[in-house]
């Protein structure tokens, strides 16, 4: 038999049942029941949550590792760039020190005009002590112009092209320079050698020459201006019955480490060849 209640009565019954359940829940009757039901669910939820956390950590950690590696690569690149910059700055510092010393030399010798030039090479032959500089006739350089460093005389230009010049160093075996010894003011001739050593020849026998004496250009012969420091005497060879004394000289310029030089541009060498005695002339 199917009894059908009116709709309003059903709603009332359901409402009363709901209120009753709520009342029972609030009074704590359901607590023990809910513990029994929720407890395993909580355990399952905890396990699921832990697994989820694990997966999340794994994913985020791999993401972090990628980021750390990327960051590390960036830092390494930055480090390499900084290292290169340090080397460049050190190079610039060395160049600055050389230029500063050259400027001091130029200020101390204001009677000359100078052009700075970088040493870009050396002669391929070991028989010649030549250097090649990066300034040439386009910069106003001419054959015969003297070349100095911050310490003193380096050599003279022997060949010029448009953008470069070849400089014969004072250590070259071909070179001969008229010099003056200080403080005795005796004159002598300085000559280079194949080994790069320089010696003083034709020092008068009566001249008082000692180790430590300074050697300066005398200006005789017209190839070099006067009073440019060349070097210092290290030892003297005196023979009783010889015509001249000779001496070994330590140059003031370090020729193994030449990087920048100054060319004296306002000095015109004098060609004295026509004045020299010729065998053909009567």
């Amino acid at each position: 038999m199917n009894i059908r209640f009116p709709k309003s009565l059903r709603i009332l019954a359901i409402s009363l049942a709901a209120i009753g359940i709520l009342a029972l829940a609030l009074s704590g009757v359901f607590t023990s029941i809910s513990r029994l039901v929720v407890s395993p669910l909580t355990s399952i939820q905890t396990w699921v949550s832990q697994q989820y956390q694990g997966v999340e950590n794994f994913i985020s950690a791999s993401q972090d590792i990628r980021e750390i590696r990327q960051h590390n690569t960036e830092l390494e690149a930055e480090n390499a760039r900084m290292q290169a910059q340090i080397v460049e700055l050190q190079q610039q510092l060395i160049e600055y020190e050389i230029l500063s010393a050259l400027l001091e030399f130029a200020r101390a010798n204001p009677e000359h005009k100078y052009i700075g030039a970088s040493v870009i090479g050396r002669d391929p032959s070991p028989f010649l002590n030549y250097i090649i500089i990066n300034r040439g006739s386009d910069d106003g350089l001419k054959r015969g112009m003297p070349v100095v460093t911050q310490n003193g005389l380096a050599g003279r230009i022997v060949q010029v092209t448009a953008s470069g010049a070849r400089v014969s160093l004072i250590t070259d075996p071909v070179i001969r320079i008229n010099v003056r010894i200080e403080p005795s003011r005796s004159t002598a001739v300085l000559s280079g050698s194949i080994t790069g050593d320089i010696t003083l020849e034709q020092i008068p026998q009566q001249a008082e020459v000692n180790p430590g004496n300074l050697i300066l250009t005398s200006g005789l012969g017209g190839n070099y201006p006067q009073n440019i420091i060349v070097g210092q005497i290290t030892s003297v060879r005196y023979l009783e019955n010889a015509l001249f004394q000779s001496a070994s000289v330590q140059p003031v310029t370090d020729f193994d480490d030449l990087a920048i030089v100054l060319v004296i541009t306002n000095f015109d060498p004098v060609d004295i060849a026509p004045l020299l005695p010729n065998a053909d002339t009567p």
Binding site: I120, G121, R122, P124, S125, P126, F127, V174, I194, T195
Partner: protein
Amino acid sequence: MSVILSIPVLSIITILQSAVISRLPLVSGTADLMLVLLVAITLQKSVNTAWQWSIVGGLLTDFFSGLPFGLFTVSYLITTGIAHVLRERIWRFSFLMHLLVVLSGIIITHTFSYLVLFLQGNSLQFTSVLQAVTMPSIILSFMLSLPVYIIVQDVVEQLKPTE
């Protein structure tokens, strides 16, 4: 190997010789990279343009050197001739052959240089030249010989199929 290729390659070698090798002396001697390279090229059986390479190498070195023009060209051509003779007469080459030709080349170049400077009125002591220039140059050139020989051999092997 193409003669056209010789111009850029030997130009770089000349610049290296002047800017780097000549700044690394032993006593007063320096290695002759150009000579070592030209000898290594000439001794390769498959290379038939060694004379042209020697002329280009000699002229480039002459342009950079203060010694009379043509000295290096003539020296390198004579060295190439020696290498050619040895290449034709001896069927199998070893690295020792390369060293022997480099030694001959340095002696020829230095003899010419010495004679030229002597004729110009510079009295160079023979023993000083031998001790301070020639012997150190030979040692330095020998040190360069092995890497240059291997590189040239590999490059020629690589280029051979295209010739």
